[in-house]
């Protein structure tokens, strides 16, 4: 439990929060929201695309794994921009704890093509490769939380 942190979010003037039904496809709404916010504060369109994919993958994981496809569950996405740091937290209501380092084999395209590894298992890999920083092992009073950080450069 050493790495587990309990997080409380506040809604201040730098923060936007959206609450979604646990329905695949609705991650697009969180993508549009975060993309518009990031564009307003001045991120390049390239970085906005990275953000969109990362937000999409985190929301889908929250829906599929965190909330186990329960249609009554919620996914809450909290976006914060301050001091040139854009952070997105995606929260689910899954009580199951998990560790991104232990959970999954690193994706290997050769193995996938040879059917030696599942074709899935790309979400966390993409997130890690697209964000500046990510923490997977956060918890809220409700469930899991993934926090992704994008830094403004230039």
């Amino acid at each position: 439990m050493g790495t587990e942190k309990e997080v409380i979010q506040v809604l201040d003037e730098h923060t936007i929060e959206i609450s979604l039904p646990n329905q695949l496809g609705y991650e697009r709404i969180a993508m549009a929201c975060s993309a518009t916010f990031a564009r307003i504060v001045g991120f390049s369109s390239e970085r906005v695309e990275d953000l969109k994919t990362a937000v999409s993958e985190a929301c889908i994981n929250a829906m599929e794994h965190g909330n186990k496809n329960d249609p009554d569950a919620r996914v809450v996405v909290n976006m914060h921009y301050e001091d040139r740091v854009f952070s997105v937290s995606v929260m689910d209501q899954g009580k199951g704890r998990w560790n991104s380092d232990e959970c999954c084999e690193e994706p290997d395209i050769e193995k996938k093509i040879m059917n030696l590894q599942t074709p899935r298992g790309l979400g966390i890999f993409l997130i890690k490769n697209l964000v500046d920083q990510v923490e997977f092992n956060l918890t809220t009073s409700e469930g899991n939380m993934v926090r992704m950080i994008f830094k403004m450069t230039g």
């Binding site: 329905q23 695949l24 496809g25 609705y26 991650e27 697009r28 390239e46 695309e49 990275d50 994919t53 999409s56 993958e57 889908i60 994706p107 290997d108 395209i109 050769e110 996938k112 093509i113 040879m114 059917n115 599942t118 074709p119 899935r120 790309l122 979400g123 890999f125 993409l126 490769n129």
Partner: protein, 114 residues
């Protein structure tokens, strides 16, 4: 909730273009299976996956594409990908898709080079 994807097939000699309109997600699997089967039934040997600049492709959709690549690899069929935005070209490189499919900007370019 509508999960919309449409795949239209276009024959160009021994090449079949899969014209892919809409979202490429985990829900796309039956659409790709059907397209691949019907192209196979017509005795195709080469495939071009034609995407559009504004496509939404997520990791579930990429997994579906990897399964398709695995099939074409097994059957010794050549496969190319066109029309990806710079973002998805980057993603496809990251994942390694580009090791098993040539990436071209347009179907015309792919047709000329396959």
């Amino acid at each position: 909730m509508k999960q919309e994807i449409e795949i239209r097939l276009e024959k160009h000699g021994d090449i079949t273009i899969f014209d892919i309109q809409g979202d490429v997600t985990v829900f796309s699997e039956p659409f790709f299976n059907k397209a691949y089967k019907s192209a196979n039934d017509q005795g195709l040997s080469k495939i071009i996956l034609k995407f559009y600049e504004n496509a939404y492709i997520n990791s579930g959709g990429i997994a579906v594409l990897i399964q398709l690549l695995a099939e074409t690899k097994k059957n010794n069929q050549l496969i190319s990908i066109t029309g990806l935005s710079p973002h998805f070209q980057k993603i496809f490189n990251m994942v390694g898709i580009s090791k098993f499919a040539r990436i071209y900007s347009t179907p015309e370019e792919a047709l000329a080079n396959m």
